[in-house]
Assembly symmetry: C2
Homo-oligomer: 193 residues x 2
């Protein structure tokens, strides 16, 4: 029933993650992955359905791991001193993940195939956590949607620009991040909803 258990899915995924994080997501190729696993490229098809599927698995894993990190950063019921504390912890965790796993982060920055429920659910998880991170602002339903969209935009934009070296010298980017978040949250606080 189980002859020749050579590679388990975790090994394959882990190797792919390492390659994506070091060489960049777009440089992850089946040939490279096979080489790292010391097998021939076609043998990979015993473990993964192809390059698109491998990328999808990376996206899924990335979203799961990010969600896990964010959950740890945003305790479900903790009473935080200021409404901004939760959002700030969330932001730091988000950015930290993207810096630590640039390949994994890049993996889920693409439109999922329509009908991919697992991927959609994983993305929804992150979305829910983002909503939670802004809960203490007690926004209305409509405002909350806009606020979350904005919050995601600014976090992703920061991470994206920083990752491509778009800020020139990497000097004080952490201060820039704090400035950005605090400015946005200050604006949120002033909102007369």
């Amino acid at each position: 029933m189980s002859p020749r258990i050579g590679l388990d899915p975790q090994q394959v995924l882990q190797a792919a993650i390492e390659l994506a994080d070091t060489h960049g997501f777009e440089s992850l190729t089946l040939a490279l992955l096979a080489q790292k696993l010391t097998i021939r490229t076609p043998s990979l098809y015993n473990h993964v359905a192809g390059l698109p599927e491998l990328r999808r698995l990376l996206a899924l894993e990335g979203l799961e791991r990010l969600a896990k990190d964010l959950r740890a950063a945003v305790p479900p019921e903790a009473a935080t001193p200021a409404p901004t504390a939760c959002a700030l912890a969330f932001s730091r965790s988000y950015v930290h993940f993207a810096r630590q796993h640039p390949g994994l982060y890049a993996a889920f920055q693409r439109a999922p195939e329509p009908g991919d429920e697992a991927l959609a659910a994983a993305a929804q998880q992150v979305l829910d956590l983002t909503l939670l991170a802004l809960a203490e602002f007690h926004l209305g339903e409509e405002s909350a949607i806009h606020a979350v969209r904005g919050f995601r935009s600014l976090l992703h934009g920061f991470v994206s620009l920083e990752g491509q070296g778009g800020f020139g010298l990497p000097l004080r980017t952490d201060q820039s991040l704090t400035f950005l978040i605090e400015t946005y949250l200050r604006g949120l606080s002033q909102l007369i909803s």
Copy 2:
């Protein structure tokens, strides 16, 4: 001195832009471009040094066109009623460009080769205009850097998420954009520098 003037550089670039904008930047291939120009792929090398160079030309053209649009949106010396008016006009122009030219926009979202002065200059142009858009807030030198980084982050993030369908239903994304910009600018106004 000038035998066989078949294709001029503008035609090649224009065709590449159309392909990138319709099929996506990453789907732009030399084979596809050659097909559109009804020549064979190797003949393209008479006009462009290769795929990386073609992409670089797209990035350059994209930055130039964006800068032109932004310049039109942000009149150099106009006295605007509120400090936010200028930044808002800038934002709308920026987002409009990205929506109209997704391929061209994607072209300059990558780290330029070190030492590419022309590309760096084009990027600097856009950066200067962004700085100008926030000038009316009269920020200090340090704050201005952070403010511009934040502004770019949020604009790019919004455009990026919207482009990949990251907002779910494309409902009221314009309202979300306005909300985002106004929230950030409100936060900027409250800054005690």
